[in-house]
């Protein structure tokens, strides 16, 4: 633990009176079964009062481990091997967090008391069997020595600060009665309960919709300013970084490869990795050159008319719920050959249900879906029988969101990709082997890897396998439901380009369902914006993004973070009040 000056800003860093926490040469090792993984190597940075440092990197770069190490929350097989984490407070002696033992009261006082943590999964980061109030009150009673009544009053005040409506009632609710955004607000209230000097926000908005993301970031930023907290923001979204951060540190394979203030990172990146990361960030303003867009002259391949799906509404034996939800409400659109139609909307807007209705994995309540096959004959999909539906499914395939859950871990890649061919009785033996090889090559995977199991592949490679499976039957339409949402930015760009390339070669049509407008903009010719089950606006991608007509679309577009710190968009966005 020798104090070596590693910071590019020089050794003057630690003398800065605004520095509340400095990390010096931190290294963390994980002991795996056969080897030692150096997850974090020689990382140094400092957090300053009222400022935000963004730690950027792809999954596996060690950014979350670093953040949690500040609280000494590390998985059992990991340990800090060297370095110092110095915490300085006003009028308090400097504490090095590293040598503290797991059970020491000093450490427990720092956790939650001086450093607050909020992190990604708003669905699972709060206990489902305790009320929101009890979980926040607990933090208050731990660190601020309040009695029950005071703590309750303070909790209501905190919930009010994070803008949860009716805080005195919401206090006694459970997490599953809250939406994702509300849970994240409650989580923030909890992290702020003991008035910490430092807030660690680990991917705080990754699981949220753009509009909710904008609101949450807005809230965090305001609370940070009013309380003068230092913030460590961990994210892979360069747009969020540009909107919120003051300083940026880029992590790659456990090291900080570049560090500097936000403007110099975005406009004068030195390191190759930073440049690549920025280049692969899909910008909302950026769109590819659209070719062959004379679609209107051709016959649509798929026509959806007045499609509606109602959930609920029928009472059970003992009077179940008698209200119905129109998940998809009177939706109509056409899909032309070789066209990419994007469907965007927030979670709960019905976009996924719409995709399933077209495939009829969910039965529509009313409306029609007309499919025009290769010979030009029109088929009414909603009226198809089981056998005929199988033929339809041969032409219309689905790519799923989760590359980890959508591949059977007990099947080899060859079995997975070849499965549609085997089920359809199209190929077997050497022929099957050849087809699978071709498909893997098509999606940019090594055909030699066909005997391996999915766990041997990364997220991006798995998604390629999923795409190869979708293409096995030479479909004409591919429905991609959030196909890139679970991937890192650089991988996301690769997969999008792969899909475009395949489309060009095979003449496919895509229905691309996503909540990420930048991705849709980049990928799609036309975009349908969904809100509460209805298509509120449908038009060319260009027009939707640059000149949205409907107020809802306008608010949605303005909430997309802009990956350029000189043009922050989110902070002066238009809000949509319905």
């Amino acid at each position: 633990m020798q104090p070596t000056p590693t910071s590019r800003e020089g050794a003057g860093m630690s003398e800065n009176p605004d520095t509340v926490l400095s990390v010096e040469n931190l290294s963390i090792d994980f002991h795996l079964r056969t080897s030692i993984l150096h997850a974090v190597r020689d990382v140094s940075f400092s957090l300053k009062r009222g400022k935000t440092l963004a730690l950027v990197g792809e999954s596996g770069s060690g950014k979350s481990v670093t953040a949690r190490a500040l609280l000494r929350i590390i998985d059992r097989n990991g340990a800090i091997s060297s370095g110092r984490i110095l915490l300085r407070g006003a009028g308090q002696p400097e504490i090095d967090i590293v040598p503290l033992t797991e059970r020491s009261t000093d450490l427990l006082r720092i956790r939650g008391g001086r450093i607050g943590l909020i992190f990604q999964e708003p669905m699972s980061s709060l206990s489902p069997v305790h009320t929101i109030g009890s979980q926040i009150t607990e933090a208050l009673r731990l660190h601020r020595k309040m009695d029950k009544k005071q703590a309750r009053a303070e909790t209501i005040e905190l919930l009010r600060q994070v803008e949860i409506p009716d805080p005195d009632k919401m206090l006694d609710r459970y997490t599953f009665e809250f939406s994702g955004g509300m849970r994240q607000r409650a989580m923030i209230a909890m992290a702020l309960a003991a008035d910490p000097e430092i807030l660690i926000a680990d991917e705080p908005t990754t699981a949220l919709d753009v509009t909710t993301q904008a609101e949450i970031l807005d809230l965090i930023k305001r609370l940070q300013e009013s309380r003068g907290m230092a913030m460590l923001l961990i994210t892979h979204d360069m747009g969020v970084v540009a909107e919120v951060a003051d300083e940026v540190a880029v992590m790659h394979y456990g090291r900080i490869v570049e560090r500097g203030d936000v403007d110099s990172i975005f406009h004068g990146a030195q390191h190759g990795y930073t440049k690549r990361l920025l280049a692969s960030t899909v910008k909302l303003e950026q769109s590819r050159a659209h070719e062959g867009a004379d679609a209107a002259a051709r016959q649509p391949i798929l026509s959806v008319r007045n499609l509606t799906k109602t959930f609920g509404g029928s009472g059970g034996w003992f009077g179940g719920n008698d209200y119905a939800i129109k998940a998809v409400n009177d939706v109509s659109f056409d899909l032309f050959p070789g066209e990419n139609l994007g469907i965007v909307g927030e979670s709960g807007s019905g976009k996924t249900t719409l995709g399933r209705l077209i495939l009829r994995t969910v039965e529509p309540s009313s409306g029609s879906v007309v499919y025009r096959d290769r010979a030009g004959t029109e088929t009414e999909v909603t009226a198809l029988g089981k056998r005929a539906l199988r033929g339809f499914h041969r032409d219309v395939r689905l790519v799923f969101q989760d590359p980890f859950a959508s591949l059977n871990p007990r099947m080899t890649v060859k079995q997975i990709v070849g499965d549609p061919l085997v089920v359809g009785g199209i190929a077997s033996g050497a022929e099957l082997d050849r087809r699978v090889g071709d498909l893997l090559e098509l999606v940019g995977l090594d055909p030699m890897s066909r005997e391996r199991y999915p766990h041997a592949f990364s997220g991006g490679q798995r998604q390629r396998i999923g795409i190869a499976r979708a293409l096995a039957l030479e479909p004409r339409i591919v429905i991609a439901d959030e196909a890139t949402a679970a991937l890192d930015v650089s991988i996301r760009a690769q997969i999008l380009d792969l899909l475009l390339d395949i489309q060009k070669r095979l003449g496919l049509s895509f229905v691309f369902i996503s909540h990420d407008i930048s991705v849709v903009r980049y990928f799609c010719d036309r975009v349908a914006v969904m809100h509460r089950g209805k298509v509120v606006e449908l038009g060319p991608a260009e027009q939707i993004c640059n000149d949205p007509q409907e107020p809802y679309t306008r608010s949605l577009i303005s909430a997309v973070p802009n990956p350029d710190p000189r043009h922050k968009r989110m902070m002066h966005r238009t809000r949509f009040i319905a």
Binding site: R68, L71, I73, E102, R103, L108, R109, I110, R111, G112, G113, G116, L117, F119, Q120, E121, S124, S125, L126, S127, P128, V129, H130, Q135, E138, A139, L142, H143, Y174, F176, E177, M187, M190, A191, A194, F318
Partner: protein, 328 residues
Amino acid sequence: MLRYVIKRVLYMIPTLFGISLIAFLIIQLPPGDYVTSMVASMQDSGRAIDPAEIARLRTLYGFDDPFYVQYWKWMSGILFRGDFGHSFEWNRPVADLIWERMGSTLGLSLAALLFVWAVALPIGIYSAVRRHSVGDYFFTFLGFIGLAIPNFILALTLMYVSYRYLGQSVGGLFSPQYVDAPWSWDKFVDLLAHVWIPIVVIGTAGTAGLIRILRANLSDELNKPYVITAKAKGLPEHKVVLKYPVRIALNPFVSAIGWVLPELISGVTITAIVLNLPTAGPLLLRALVSQDMYLAGSFILLMGVLTLIGMLVSDILLALLDPRIRYR
């Protein structure tokens, strides 16, 4: 919540009807009836029986009536008069026989359940939190032994130990001199000296099973993000574990109530016979063998009722424990 309970109780009515029908069907299934088996055993001992007498008995017991008539007679007796019928073999009302045995059965069940909980909970938590430690392996080993040893062997072993080294009378719930004595402090102490053997024997397999379930469940829960949230809040580790993941991993414990009651009546019959326990199991076996149909039927029916009540209690407790169930 009240609505949920009422709903559950109402659902029990058709289920009960189904159980009673099946119970009656089962006791009717074997060929012949009580008279046949009585005749057979009398002929074995070399006595001749007048065929007219047999026919008279058949009419008396109503064995010649069609199925539904017999069923109706039995059910209406239970519903309107609390009369479960008459035991042919014991020549006593079935209700008396059952209540005699039910008290000890229920008492033993509850004691065994408490034993299972008291042992399985701390060991399960320890095993999950200190996974792959020496202690975990030790308890895992014990657990597998508990699961693998047949109950009656364990019972015999414990009886031997108790007799040989502790110098106790073994078998039954009381020493001979206390069986018919009125309740006193000495009798209670005598009961305690006897009752631990059946409790341990009956509880061991269940304990081992629950430890494994709790260990698996808790290991999953320990990696959930809300545990990190609780840690990041500054709670000490033991409080984190007990308040959050254990609470959620407890569900199988509560569900255990549902199956422990019927298990004790039917599942541990062999143990009860070995240990000479005055529980329902051996009586049910005798009744089935001798085709004492009303006794057997009533036992089966009562077991069904107990299962339903156990399930109801465990469901209500589950709903109290887990708000997600309550609100569904």
